[in-house]
Amino acid sequence: MTEAPTPLWEVFIRPRNGLAHRHVGSLHAADAEMALQSARDIYTRRGEALSIWVVPSSAIVACDPADKGMMLEPTATKIYRHPTFYEVPEEVGNM
């Protein structure tokens, strides 16, 4: 008999101040407090964190790669958003 799954959580840690929280992995826990403690016990054993976030995996909404054309590709042609698109005469120097 397969047991009912224990909820999955995603773990994010801030390695040091000034940096954003970064996804480091996931774990299973029945509730938020246990998830936070497990995150501490599993993902910060070597002093990796100054701050820990846990988020229920089910709360994350992801885009479908099948929609890549619609969701992510239209920006590829908007090269004018990048500084290298523009020409600055050499004698003007860096800008």
Binding site: E10, D31, M34, I60, P65
Partner: protein
Amino acid sequence: MYAQALDQKDKSAEPQADDAARMERFQARIDAEEKIEPNDWMPEAYRRTLIRQISQHAHSEIIGMQPEGNWLTRAPTLKRKGQLLAKIQDEAGHGLYLYAAAETFGVTREELYEQLLSGKAKYSSIFNYPTLTWADIGVIGWLVDGAAIMNQIPLCRCSYGPYARAMVLVCKEESFHQRQGYEIMLALCRGTPEQKAMAQDALERWWWPVLMMFGPSDRDSQHGETSMRWKIKRFSNDGLRQKFIDATVPQAQHLGLTVPDPQLAFNAETGHWEHGPIDWAEFNRVLAGHGPCNVQRMRRRTRMHEDGAWVREAAAAYAAKKRARAQRPAA
């Protein structure tokens, strides 16, 4: 490792007219060293191979805690006790990272456990050998972890993103394990004659099983070629085995230990150590469940799973009560 929030229809059930074209694009991405991520299209065989390989890897980490744990309460000094406990704890962590990587395919950890407990899923045959003396703890760190690292470093570049990322974490943490083992061996080899004999005996019992860890010879390996093409595997079994032997023999010499292979000889022309024949009948016997500890390891794992059921039920029941209380309107 990854959220499964994306609501995917069971695409494998629908016949895909353009499978050949998808397959071609898929292979092109892999050839270009692009990583495959959980929600990307992938051939069913790629998915199945990876679930099998990653979960076997996870099971090996978890079962591998047992032979070392056998000496945890008998570690000879406080320092060694702490090191060994930290190492076994890392293995639990590695099992967890790997289960999470397998779970990105939508299979649950509970299902993976069930496959292990029912005997459907395998784990590394090395953990079906007993740890009879303290020197076995040294040899496991030095040789078993040494062999594992050699297998695992190439996997950090595996084509499947979550697996590759898990392996980066594993390899980073694993780096002290082999040193810890070698240090134990050094202490024994510099110690009393009894300790030295203990070290030699352990090397003799573990040497051949460790060479078998790299898997069957390339001539007999079933999964090799496709796995190489998909970059799930990056080196051949025999190639890694040779690399391991070349690295290890000088380390054994430094300890003053004799590798139990009368045919072992250095070939100055190739620069490699050539070894005697591996007893693949033994490998197959252990893999088929007839090793010294297969039954013991599985019984222990099953018992632990059963003994913990009431605790997991309590945690789930408490979480449900708490949710219900939060939803109840304040009186």
